[in-house]
Amino acid sequence: MLALAASAVAVAGATVAARAARGAGAGAADDQDGARDTVILPRRARPRLALPDQRGAGAGAGEAAGATRCGACHLVEGWEKVRFNHDPTGFPLRGVHADVSCNGCHGKSFDKPVADTCSACHRDRHAGEFGLHCEGCHDEKSWRPLFQADAHRRTNFPLVGKHALIPCAECHGNLRDRSFARAAVRCDACHEGDFMRTAAVSIDHLANNYSRECQTCHNTFRFFPASVAAHDACFRITSGSHHGVHCLSCHSALNAAAFTGACATGTFRCSECHSHQCARSDVQHKNVMGYQCATTKCYECHKIGGL
């Protein structure tokens, strides 16, 4: 699922989204009660309704001390229909928490505090990878997170281009620990296989000692075509008619594709790919100074492919 992912400690974007989702519903609680708190049942924010084992603590006038106000939480329609207003406790029961049994969190007694952090109740399936910051990715509606590509920008590896459009498992393969750990931020930490595979499908990057800074030539939205800045200085392939031409279409001798830093102008022949009829070309260029129907001469004028 794309909704899963993160290689860094915390994801503020997802935190924002989670809080946003929570805040949207929490507004009503804020309105009605005027106060929320971080701790369970602080004295100043105790609910108006007594808890089942707060015998007498919340009893109203006229009620005998020690009386258990069952009706404070339970309904006459059934013992299991509980209507306790949890909002003033500082932990409004939203999403799936609304369906959790009371003692699922409170154990034996409502008197014991329960931390309002996720990790106080939930075990960590990520083997400690993300610390105790569960709400950075998860919310209360479902344990399946709303985490998405924008939130990944808060990591040390922003998801740019096609990286945002692939299944999470293509990078985060450890399902046992759900650790979402990645080897390193370098391209070849994941694309080492692709680098080596060029020997079979393209110019042998290893044999030609190409840099492993893949982004020098490739962008993240498309691996092909590559854009080589040094190549454009001699023969433009980033745009124009020659954009998208496979390297091997011209560089049939692979060792000629090594980047030496020196412009290799003059090594190519237009007529190797383009068939020219000199009779026709002569007519078209009859007023062009220095025109000559000979290979390599075309490029003296047509430096930008397509002109």
């Binding site: 924002v16 009503a28 971080t38 910051h133 740019v160 390193a184």
Partner: protein, 595 residues
Amino acid sequence: MPQDRRPLALALAVALALLASSGGADAARRRHRQRHRRPGARAVAVKIVPSAPALATPPPVPASPGSPFGRVALITERRAYLDRGAADGLKPGQALALARFGRPAGSCTVEVVGDHEATCTGNRPRVGDTFRAARVGARRATVKAAARVIPVLAPLVDEQTLQARAAVVAAGTIEKVEFNGRHALRARATAEVMPGVVAWFNQPDAQGGGYAQERIDAVIRGVPLGGSGFRFDGAFSAMRWSVPAVERFRPGTPTQFYLWEAEASRRLQQGGTTVAVGRLWPYHTPGLTLLDGIQLGRENQAGTAEGGLYGGLIPSAASLAPGFDIWAAGLYGALTQVGTRESTLRLAREEARVGVWHGARTVTEAEALAQLWIGPVVAGGGGRLRWADSGGGLAVEQAHLDLGVRPSPRSGAGLHARYVGATLLPDAPLRAELPMTGGALHALADVHIDLSTRLALAASAGAHREGMTGRHQLHAGAEARFLRLFGETGGLWVGADVEQGWLQGENLYVQFVGQGAGRLQILARLSANGTRFETPTAIWNLHELGGYANLDGVLTPWLRLRAWTLLRAPILVQGALPVEASFGAVAGLGLAGAM
């Protein structure tokens, strides 16, 4: 009277007499109907209050017991609770017009009715909203009850004795409520099945086709196993992939099955021996997740201490297939300290384990976790050490520290730091993956404050550094949330952030969070971002537009729908329009049925 006007006066008198006679006959018929009305028909006479605004303007004061106006006593996420019931004329299905501060505030439909209370669902009622409860039936019942002669019986026990008994019970040291949690409220077995589909699409796609996945996830919780005190918990995922020509994760395995949990366990509220066996997810063993084996421990009666041992086989990290290549065993312990409501230290818990991990090499490991809750501050931290005899030595594999503070109900801040070291376990799940050997450090700080119920602000900043390559990344952002920009429908979030480091960029976004028809939760986000890749020979930049939408719908109380989509398209590459149209989309659809 002139003689010529006598016939006119006579005709008028006759007409008035007939009219009076007709009215008297109507009154007589009404009296006759009331005398001969069937008892059951009396309830039908309850007045249904229409939701016309003119009638929905009761006073904005809390309703008193004798008032014809009822009040929303409290609300939960799903429903509102009213302080009027059947005795006040409410009945299931009745539409109530709500008023807030004297103004119409929507309506809600009565759901369940008790004698003097009821629940209703509707368009986000609030506590304090008032409504008119027709008390016709109640008044008649009162009149009729008054007419009856009720014999006065002497109390079986006098009031003084009752008070004395109540005082004795209140002073007792034993639990006075028999329903003390040993039975969980609504803690019956549950099951959830979630079928879904996800598709990834890229245009153009050089790798030959996008991804598509059909999957089904199932979870079952708390199935009692006879009267043994054991319960069963299970979870699995099954999926079928269509993948492009090149795939990195589990190539050549289009059908995948993951068994997350199949555990029979015994863990009682009153403590004692705890047992779990099967494919389990052990308690109180930080850093240890799936294990095909057993956990055996002992918990004290107060539930504040537990210790024991664990052992078993470790399934494959990629496929979760059981195997005999890796096993782990060790001891664990956990402590909990609980304060009172008034004490400064409210809660603390500590967990630790020491053990052996035996795979391609034998590793001794120790891991601990602690969490403190002191007043408004929550602090936590932990770490993992591993020691390998055959090379590797001692390694800090992981350490983290989390601090959070909420000085007021409407504000909070957090600081999170984490160190991830190189692991000593040589079992990277992906092929052609280069292991990280230098460790990495990550930190994040965030703060938020709700200025009002309509406006909130948030900000965050983070830093990352990787030891292996020295690459670092910084980011910072801020967000303004207009919580009620669209009233009860939802609000708008506007934010921006910037990144510096090995990958530089900016990101702007607008996000809508809202709901519709009381059954839909909507999150829609539109973002624009720019990224610059700095290389030794050039700086590449890419500007993209992106969108994300998530829809959660409650179809029935036991069926939910989730649909989501992500869109991305480059709009500028190196400052120019893309040579050819490119975009990508991911879409998912799933159902969740709960039983």
